[in-house]
């Protein structure tokens, strides 16, 4: 925490004005920590803090209760300054049981605050968490470097709801509200937002709503009236650019981006998708927008999902499919079809740890090479990558624009970190968004009134003639086609020419995208940190801090992964060193080294976790020294 002012506010309680605070809510999968974290986040956002969140949960819906495998965490960094990451370490750890403490203690700052539910530290829970018999970290002095608040949250919740008429199970389930109320008190945040949320959520179950609100207030009062807590914190609203904001997660921004793409292009949107973590939320969210020219189709498998999207695109819609790594592998053959058909298609891969089932709920950027080269035959495709939760919106729009304006499938990469994480978003209005230009063929374009489906324009893209258009009947397919007519052709020279034409069409997109420029730092110098995707926040924070400390360092961040911006090679050659941090084993650095012959250095992390700012700063300093 970065504190600014301290003042005594009576009752022996000190109010500390803090610039930013990181809280980690941690508990069993059933303890409601994701909801607690989300409510705290939304409240902080609503009252003007900048923030970044990092939900982290196990792949199992209900892992064995009380074990370290079942720990579910939600981290939020909120501040009165600009926040780009969920924070390397936390100031406050809420540990609902012994397992949560065990898993998340290592990243609590020295001197940090621990709030525990002592009911989660009984003999059984200690045993399940793997503490040796007779050892209780709350009692053995091992936490003396921290400020520990031991509260029997379960007992207080039960007492608070005695006589409420609710069953023991429902009462126990409310205990996260006690913690949330206490934290609202501790961090001087109002309860109204959550009270409204509870009333809306349980509009038809008034007894449950009342119980939750009562427990929430009990938590607040517990902080206010007992003298256990001597310190409260206040984080002033952030001085963000003027405008209207909302809080948004990456998957939500992706869904809204698709709705916007449909409206801006005037095309009906058709999503073919199959449930997969962490992509399913896009399907869930988009299926709520059916009145906005959107159709969603939960297909029987990943292959059917992309094929249905291809069918929709062929029919003159904006076909989209959303998935994650293993699903992407299944879609590959169909993606080859879409490539040779040369029709618009959006393939959104919300990356997770792989290969195979890998780490379904953890993040990784390891599908870049798959996006670049993961097709049979020569089949380059445009690739764009989102750099933050809100940036998913812009990236999806960009992907849609390239797809329909250049008649090609586009791969859009996000990852679990930004898909589930959220941040305040100064959302645009419709009139601030550029239209997406769509031209359907309506007239013959060949000699004698014939239609040439593979006749190319200045972008090298072919006409889009949708079924139902009179006089333009034509057949397309996966077999190699003759130039212009699109008829099946096995001619050797024609295949080579078509292969090169398809590649040149993708390469030509570089003429229509922005040039690369540093996000921070100078455009020549000692070291450029080149990033892509979700590493943006951590790199931005690290580089800005080092710039303030006087180091010669710059940050360049890529959205267009294929083709790269035209000046990228030239820009990179203006630095003595290029460092490429990636949550993979160096995939972008291989591409950059191969294409530009720059001695780029890779900083690799494949732990299912995003980079911390300090990891990046340490590496940058190592190179600079």
């Amino acid at each position: 925490m970065e504190s600014i002012v301290e003042q005594n506010v009576g009752h022996d309680t000190t109010l500390i004005e803090a610039e930013s605070i990181v809280i980690r809510f941690s508990g069993d999968s059933g303890d409601g920590m994701q909801l607690t974290g989300t409510q705290f986040t939304d409240t902080a956002a609503f009252f003007g803090n900048d923030l970044s969140t990092f939900p982290e949960f196990p792949a199992e819906i209900r892992a064995p209760i009380g074990t370290t495998a079942g720990v579910s965490g939600f981290q939020v960094n909120f501040g009165s300054k600009e926040i780009f990451t969920p924070g390397d370490e936390y100031d406050v750890l809420v540990a609902m049981n012994a397992a949560a403490l065990k898993v998340d203690l290592p990243r609590l700052k020295r001197g940090g605050i621990i709030i525990t539910n002592t009911a989660g530290f009984d003999k059984k829970n200690l045993g399940l968490a793997g503490f040796p018999d007779g050892v209780n970290p709350l009692e053995d002095g091992s936490l003396e470097d921290y400020t520990v608040h031991k509260i029997d949250v379960t007992k207080f919740t039960k007492e608070c709801l005695a006589g409420s008429g609710l069953g023991m199970k429902e009462i126990e389930r409310s205990k996260n509200m006690f913690v949330l109320g206490l934290l609202f008190w501790m961090f001087d945040e109002p309860m109204e937002y959550t009270i409204n949320f509870i009333n809306e959520k349980f509009a038809k179950k008034q007894d449950i709503a009342d119980a939750n609100i009562k427990t929430l207030k009990a938590g607040w009062n517990f902080g206010d009236h007992t003298e256990i807590f001597t310190t409260r914190f206040h984080v002033a609203p952030a001085k963000l650019p003027k405008g209207t904001y909302r809080n948004i997660s990456g998957n939500h921004a992706t869904a809204i981006g698709l709705v916007a793409a449909a409206e801006l292009s005037g095309l009906p949107l058709f999503l073919g998708s199959y449930p997969i973590t962490p992509a399913s939320d896009v399907l869930h969210e988009l299926s709520k927008y059916k009145t906005s020219n959107v159709k969603t189709f939960q297909a029987e498998d990943e292959i059917a999902a992309i094929c249905a999207a291809i069918g929709a695109s062929y029919g003159g819609g904006l076909g989209v499919t959303t998935t994650s790594g293993p699903g992407m592998s299944l879609k590959t053959e169909a993606l080859g079809l879409a490539t040779i058909l040369e029709i618009p298609l959006l393939v959104i891969n919300i990356q997770r740890g792989g290969p195979s089932t890998g780490l379904p709920t953890k993040t990784e950027q390891s599908d870049l090479m798959q996006a670049m080269y993961g097709r049979h035959g020569e089949g380059p495709l445009p690739i764009v990558a989102a750099s933050s939760p809100a940036d998913c919106f812009n990236t999806v729009l960009e992907a849609a624009r390239i797809a329909v304006e250049h008649m090609t499938p586009v791969i859009c990469l996000t990852d679990g970190y930004i898909a589930n994480g959220s941040e305040p978003w100064r959302f645009p209005t419709k009139d601030q968004l550029l239209p997406i230009n769509v031209t359907f063929a309506t007239e013959p374009n060949g000699p004698n009134g014939t239609f040439l489906p593979y006749k190319r324009d200045e972008k090298l893209s072919r006409p889009w003639a949708k079924p139902g258009t009179k006089g333009l009947m034509h057949r397309i397919g996966g077999l190699e086609k003759a130039q212009e007519t699109g008829n099946v052709s096995y001619d050797a020279k024609n295949h080579e020419a078509m292969t090169k034409l398809r590649a040149a069409k993708i390469e030509k997109i570089a003429d229509y995208i922005p040039l690369a420029a540093p996000d921070s730092g100078k455009s020549t110098g000692k070291l450029a940190v080149l990033g892509w995707g979700s590493t943006s926040g951590a790199i931005k924070t690290a580089v800005r801090e080092l710039l303030e400390e006087g180091y010669d360092v710059a940050h360049i961040h890529l959205r267009h992964m294929n083709p790269f911006p035209k000046n990228l090679g030239e820009l990179l050659s203006g630095y003595e060193h290029v460092l490429i941090p990636e949550m993979n084993c160096g995939q972008l650095s291989q591409l950059i080294r191969a294409k530009y012959l720059v001695p780029a250095e890779s900083l690799s992390k494949v732990q299912g976790l995003p980079f911390t700012t300090s990891e990046l700063k340490n590496k940058i300093l190592e190179i600079l020294k």
Binding site: K239, A299, A304, C307, P428, R475, G477
Partner: protein, 346 residues
């Protein structure tokens, strides 16, 4: 009904109008030629403008069909035509969509899409040219090849049971199950028309001779020496008769029995009357394949085995959108961008 009036005003198309300019490249004598001819023959009667017709095919000999029709068409990838057609029909319900597939394409690599298409019931037509062999890959046994089939990949005979496509389709809740064969043009035309008229997924299995890799496999059902004994032609509301009307099938409870009408005491009025809409009986008829009753083998059924009116998937999608729009209206993009909870920094 305005569309019909407009169509009548236009000059009626002919079979030739549906032939594309591409050379047909199936092997000489292939049953596919007959199917192409029957399709091109009946299409003018449907009165659909050519631009509203789309053929989607997968991979295999049958899949080349798409190139030979002067309509819109996509020759896609192996087994996936059903999924592509679902997306196309889902997006634009006005199109007349025809899937052309083979036994390997539909029941092996495309098996999952096949069953789910039947269940979802998009209003499209699914033609399977069943030749009980992989032709384009030069002669491996297929999921409809009979047990013991000696083929390239089974030199000692296949050890697997084949699918009975009609039972498979019925089990997957198909709303229109039918069978025809390449060597009976009139019958095929009738079935194609029925498939077109049916609203929902119409499954048409067409026995198709592969003269190169599986010649004569269906001759028992098509050649005059055996046809009368081995096949039975179904007509809704008519008794189940075969063998030139000398034999029939009656039901003893749920057990079918073959009766000889020339023998004493047997009358046509006791026979089973075919009811396309009776699913229980459709299952029994579909079982006239490899199911034997009391050691008796039954003739193979041709025609419409089952048909049922039930809502289509694309109509469901459209209705839901219409109802939601009527109830909630269409939010502006600005409203969607802002969501419900915003704050302003001045």
């Amino acid at each position: 009904m305005t569309t019909i009036i407009e169509q009548e005003a236009a000059p009626k198309l002919t079979a030739k109008d549906f032939a594309s300019n591409q050379e047909v490249k199936w092997c000489p004598g292939c049953g596919d030629y007959s199917i192409l001819k029957q399709v091109q023959t009946v299409f003018p009667d449907f009165g659909i403008p050519k631009e509203d017709i789309v053929f989607i095919s997968g991979i295999g000999c049958a899949a080349r069909f798409t190139y030979y029709m002067d309509t819109y068409g996509m020759h896609s990838i192996h087994g996936r035509a059903a999924a592509i057609a679902s997306g196309l029909k889902g997006l634009n319900p006005k199109l007349s969509v025809w899937v052309v597939s083979g036994d390997g394409d539909a029941f092996s690599i495309g098996g999952n899409h096949f069953i789910h298409l039947m269940r979802k019931n998009f209003d499209l037509n699914y033609l399977v040219f069943n030749n009980q062999i992989y032709g384009l890959t030069k002669g491996q046994y297929s999921p409809t090849s009979e047990k013991g089939k000696v083929a390239k990949s089974t030199p000692y005979g296949s050890v697997e049971e084949p699918f009975n496509p009609s039972e498979l389709a019925l089990g997957a809740k198909c709303s229109f199950v039918s069978r025809s064969l390449d060597r009976d043009p009139k019958h095929m035309q009738m079935v194609l028309k029925r498939a077109h008229e049916h609203k929902g997924t119409s499954f048409v299995e067409i026995y198709q001779n592969c003269p190169v890799f599986n010649d004569g496999t269906f001759f028992a059902f098509s050649e005059k020496e055996t046809k009368q004994e081995q096949s039975i032609y179904l007509e809704h509301g008519k008794p189940l008769l075969f063998s030139n009307g000398t034999k029939g099938i009656k039901l003893d409870g749920t057990r079918p029995v073959i009766v000889n009408l020339n023998e004493n005491g047997n009358s046509a009025s006791d026979l089973w009357i075919h009811d396309e809409h009776d699913k229980t009986k459709a299952h029994i008829i579909a079982g006239f394949f490899d199911t034997e009753y009391d050691g008796v083998h039954f003739p193979r059924p041709f025609g419409v085995i089952y048909s049922e009116d039930r809502p289509t998937c694309e109509d469901g999608m459209e209705q839901q959108i219409a109802e939601l729009t009527a109830r909630k209206g269409k939010p502006s993009l600005d409203k969607i961008l802002s969501g419900d909870k915003t704050w302003t920094i001045l």
